[in-house]
């Protein structure tokens, strides 16, 4: 694993740790839903249906390098 990748993973872990610690200081958060106030057993689904509308299929060529000889190194040029 190259050093830069180790550094990136380290920075992400460091960011997560500090983010969790900072979130502990922030406790005033809005409550955007009203799930605590749903009357028990009041939720009833009286209609549920599904209609198939159509489908689409996309195909993409598989990776070409499996069929090509191994890369020899050096710069490559694209037309």
């Amino acid at each position: 694993m190259p050093f830069w990748l180790c550094l990136v993973i380290g920075a992400v872990v460091g960011g997560i740790v500090v983010g969790i610690m900072l979130s502990q200081l922030h406790t005033v958060r809005p409550n955007n839903a009203a799930a605590d106030y749903v009357i028990r057993d009041s939720f009833r689904v009286t209609m549920q249906d599904e209609t198939f509308l159509g489908k689409t299929t996309n195909r993409t060529p598989r990776m070409q390098q499996q069929q090509q000889p191994p890369h020899q190194g050096g710069p490559s040029q694209h037309p």
Partner: protein
């Protein structure tokens, strides 16, 4: 046929065209193909879906009875302009919200009487203890904040809230997809099937609270939830003894929008959970209609603690019934950076050493 030209692709939203070779509607953008009759009924169902109606009938609060409000005093805050109420035995000297001096302006008159009150269950000592616990186990809280800050004043305040009850009838249209992937020797295939999904039904809410005080931070009141409404009792002035009570300055009509937002969000969440087995689900149209929407006026108990540190005011609040404690704390930015760099360096070193060992072992 002119109507058909107006159809939009349920998969990507592009304008569909009729394909004479396939005798079906085809999207020129994503190549999806749809049956004409199915599209027609799908569009008709969407067009026939009822519009949302979230209107309320509010008769919250009642008039004070003869002599009932005589013992109540009104105090005016000279700083934030707020007015709080206390009974004649409770002296109020400072505003519970901004800590500025308050002056008595007279007796209570003309305001609505609350329908209900949840009485305080926890005392001032419990609030002090909760603040200390609130500051425990937080590595980024400056140590000096704990030692230097002192609570200027702790006030027990009955905060006015509007409580909304409503039944909801909902009809929601979703566009959902199932994705199937496979490969052969030459190609990778992705097949996306598109479905129109409908859900309809009912759900009921009771006592959805919305802060009726402009001075009390709405977000802080929501953070203090939930209150146990089973312990609410009909309002009597006796419950105010020893506490302050805020007068509502945001009426029920102005609070409806927030109640609607919360009810709507919970309704959408509840129905969305019933749409299973798809890879993607997007809401196309929803119709949420309230039935028997009613509002009540109540007082909820809150302990407010104000403190200042480094020239910044910090307000904490405790649910006077359940003890839930909230309040944002300052952070030690230098320590935060130190921990960030420390963890980054440690993880980087460990990963690099492991990768070196693995490489040398090969």
């Amino acid at each position: 046929m002119a109507d058909m030209m107006e159809y939009k692709c349920p998969a990507c939203g592009g304008k569909l065209e009729f394909s004479s070779t396939e005798q079906q509607m085809k999207c020129p953008f994503c190549d999806s193909v749809f049956d004409v009759a199915t599209l027609q009924s799908y569009d008709e169902a969407l067009a026939a879906a009822p519009e949302s109606d979230m209107s309320w009938e509010s008769e919250a609060g009642s008039e004070w009875e003869q002599g009932e409000a005589d013992s109540m005093r009104v105090y005016h805050c000279q700083s934030c302009g707020g007015e709080v109420i206390a009974d004649e035995t409770t002296a109020a000297s400072k505003c519970p919200y901004c800590d500025a001096p308050v002056i008595m302006t007279g007796q209570l008159a003309g305001e609505l009487k609350p329908d209900l009150v949840i009485p305080f269950k926890l005392d001032k000592e419990a609030a002090k203890k909760a603040l200390l616990q609130h500051m425990e186990g937080k590595p980024l809280l400056p140590k000096i904040f704990k030692s230097e800050n002192h609570i200027d004043e702790i006030k027990g305040v009955y905060v006015p809230v509007w409580l909304f009850d409503a039944g909801v009838e909902a009809q929601i249209h979703y566009r959902a997809t199932k994705v199937r992937r496979w490969s052969d020797q030459q190609f990778d295939y992705v097949e996306t099937s598109t479905f129109a999904v409908r859900r309809g039904g009912n759900i009921a809410f009771e006592h959805v609270p919305v802060d009726g005080s402009a001075k009390m931070d709405d977000t802080m009141m929501e953070a203090l939830e939930p209150y146990n409404f089973a312990e609410a009792v009909p309002f009597q002035t006796a419950y105010l003894s020893g506490y302050l009570a805020d007068k509502y300055d945001t009426d029920a009509e102005a609070s409806v929008a927030r109640a609607n937002d919360r009810i709507r969000q919970s309704t959408l969440n509840a129905f969305l959970q019933t749409v299973r087995g798809y890879d993607t689900v997007n809401t196309e149209h929803d119709s949420i209609r309230l039935e028997h929407g009613e509002a009540k006026y109540a007082l909820y108990p809150v302990w407010l603690l104000n403190t200042s540190w480094n020239g910044t005011k910090y307000t904490f609040a405790m649910n006077g019934q359940t003890g839930k404690f909230v309040g944002d704390l300052p952070s030690n930015k230098g320590k935060a950076w130190g921990i960030f760099f420390g963890v980054t360096a440690a993880v980087t070193a460990v990963l690099y050493v492991i990768s070196m060992l693995l490489q040398s072992g090969q």
